[in-house]
């Protein structure tokens, strides 16, 4: 059984009467990579800053390895943190930046120098020790910031949107490197981001936050495929909505235009004649080129977006605009704007979400 490392109990934070975090309970396992995901103002950074000790909770507790650290000063917590703005000390070179925490911990000089070299190798910047932060690119600076945070062997690593200031390509390579290093060191990591792709790609678990509350906690696969609330479904990935009328609640059948379909996810509480919103991911909808699915619908292509390996079409299905993702195939060009198409949906991929 996995060992609990960090625990947050009934955490509340208010700023001038405005509650930013509203009674959050969370548990993190040792060595786990957990992402706090949510839009701006959802409270994710505030939770991270409370874990770091930069903000004092209005109420609630934070414990590490069973010890309450809620009132402990940030410099006593033995936590490593990487900031969005790098926060490298401009007056120190790369080596001195990495050695800063080690000097405070009174590590002997020889050991310190060896540790700095080890960290530089870990981040792939061996030989950069004498350079100053202004001589490095954004990605390199953030790697140095990571090395500086990891050098004193902290108990836990906090990452506050560390990739936000970087361009797309570096962001992807650095996030892979962060994950690789985290796995190698087995350090419990809390990562804050508003980028769902980032969260899905590197996390063991994702905590989706909205307006200071937890919406859902789960593995990336679970969060994406089995969202429990409409917010999670719409915030994480793209979601199609089709309006349908309940035909027979007992038989779980609905009518979409002229088509009747059986939806296993239709709740038993639904009433005949009631309008329900059926939701599905773009990849759950397929262009029906010889494909036979549970639900087959006619529509017109309203928009074509070429995204490289994927082509995203927007198909107008009797007033419902539905996104359809298909893989790019050099031999088959995508349907043109205004073309009539048939789309197929597997009934098992359809979710009926609560509000």
């Amino acid at each position: 059984m996995a060992e609990e490392f960090l625990r947050i109990d009934k955490l509340v934070k208010t700023f001038g009467g405005n509650a930013v975090v509203k009674g959050v309970d969370l548990s993190f396992q040792r060595g786990e990579f957990v992402t706090l995901l949510g839009p701006s103002g959802c409270g994710k950074t505030t939770i991270l800053r409370m874990i770091a000790g930069f903000e004092r909770p209005t109420s609630g507790t934070i414990s590490v390895e069973g010890k309450d650290i809620t009132s402990l000063a940030p410099n006593q917590r033995k936590i490593g943190m990487v900031f969005q703005a790098y926060a490298l000390f401009p007056n120190m070179n790369v080596g001195d930046n990495i050695a800063f925490g080690l000097k405070i911990a009174s590590m002997p000089r020889e050991q310190r120098e060896a540790r700095v070299e080890e960290m530089l190798k870990l981040i792939g910047l061996a030989g950069y020790g004498k350079r100053f932060p202004f001589e490095l690119s954004g990605g390199q600076q953030q790697r140095v910031a990571l090395a500086r945070a990891l050098a004193p062997s902290p108990k836990m690593l906090l990452l506050d949107e560390p990739l936000s200031a970087l361009d797309a390509k570096i962001r992807v390579s650095l996030r892979e490197q962060i994950r690789e290093i985290q796995r190698e060191l087995g350090i419990t990591t809390v990562f804050v981001t508003h980028d769902q792709e980032e969260a899905l790609s590197i996390s063991d678990r994702i905590v989706v936050l909205n307006a200071g509350n937890i919406e859902q906690v789960g593995q990336p696969f679970e969060i994406y495929n089995k969202p429990t609330t409409r917010f999670v479904a719409t915030f994480v990935g793209t979601l199609n909505t089709l309006n349908a009328t309940v035909a027979d609640a007992g038989a779980k059948t609905v009518r979409i235009g002229e088509t009747t379909a059986t939806i296993p996810a239709l709740p038993t509480s639904a009433k005949a004649g009631e309008t329900v919103a059926l939701t599905m991911r773009p990849e759950a909808v397929a262009l029906a080129n010889g494909v036979d699915r549970d639900i087959m619908l006619e529509g017109k292509v309203a928009e074509v977006a070429f995204l490289g390996s994927v082509i995203r079409l927007k198909v107008d299905l009797g007033g419902n605009l539905v996104s359809v993702d298909t893989f790019n195939d050099q031999r088959t060009p995508p349907p043109a704007h205004g073309t009539s198409v048939r789309v197929g949906i597997a009934a098992s991929d359809v979710l009926v979400l609560s509000a």
Partner: protein, 262 residues
């Protein structure tokens, strides 16, 4: 394009002439101690005057003390206000502007009234006490310049994130201030220090009324009794100020850089 550049040079030339011609006239006059030729006799006379050396040394020591005390007071105050007490900034601005509003004569009378021989803390009773008093007065006079210089320096760095980065690595507030914040605003602190130096070197009112042998008092005495030496002293003062400004510019090149160079 060429026309615009021409007029820019004309404006620059007029501005430069406005500032430099009086200085040139003073310089030429300072060299006319002998009727038949231009010499540096006035300068030699100033430098060989024992009072010049003693008063300048006295003011120099006072300036150094005022700089140390000023930095020790202003740096932590400006740092903590910027870090934790942003709402207090207007109050700080107002307080640090007071020395520009209240004339030094009022300040020194206040000092004498509060710290005279019949007060609880009779600083004016001893030479050392009066020296302490005059340094405190200089710190007050230089406060607007020292605060603004340091505050401008703090504005150029991300004080909060740097402080948090140092703190999470285990640093206490003093270590953070000394090892992270101070080196990154060193040039700004130096600007404040040189401005303090310039104020102290030329200050007359405090030194005169507290009866201390400062350089400002000496300059006033020389000005009242000699013809060419005051001009030489004015040129020396300018040279000192410009030298200080040059040192600031030079040190600025070695300041820690916060952005990637283009």
């Amino acid at each position: 394009m060429i026309g615009r550049r021409f007029w820019a040079w004309v404006v620059f030339g007029l501005g430069a002439a406005y500032f430099l011609l009086p200085l040139l006239a003073t310089f030429i006059f300072s060299m006319q101690m002998r009727r038949d030729r231009l010499t540096f006799d006035a300068y030699l006379s100033v430098f060989s005057d024992e009072r010049f050396q003693s008063t300048f040394s006295y003011s120099l020591v006072c300036a150094v003390c005022a700089i140390i005390v000023g930095v020790a007071i202003v740096l932590p105050a400006a740092y903590f206000v910027r870090l934790r007490l942003q709402w207090l900034r207007p109050v700080m601005e107002f307080i640090t502007l007071l020395p520009l509003i209240v004339p030094p004569i009022i300040l020194v009378f206040g000092h004498i009234k509060l710290f005279n021989s019949s007060s609880i803390l009779p600083l004016t009773n001893s030479t050392l006490g009066t020296d302490v008093l005059i340094v405190c007065g200089y710190v007050t006079l230089a406060l607007p310049y020292m605060y603004r210089a340091i505050d401008t320096g703090l504005r150029t760095i991300d004080v909060q994130t740097l402080t948090e980065a140092a703190t999470i690595l285990g640093a206490d507030p003093i270590r953070t201030m000394v090892q992270v914040i101070f080196p990154n605003i060193f040039v700004a602190v130096l600007s404040g220090a040189f401005l303090t130096f310039a104020i102290v070197i030329g200050e007359f009112v405090l030194a005169s009324l507290l009866n201390r042998p400062a350089f400002g008092v000496y300059m006033q005495n020389v000005g009242a009794n000699r013809a060419y030496e005051p001009s030489a002293l004015a040129i020396i003062s300018f040279a000192l100020t410009w030298g200080a400004m040059g040192v600031i510019q030079l040190l600025d090149r070695f300041a820690p850089k916060t952005a990637r160079q283009a």
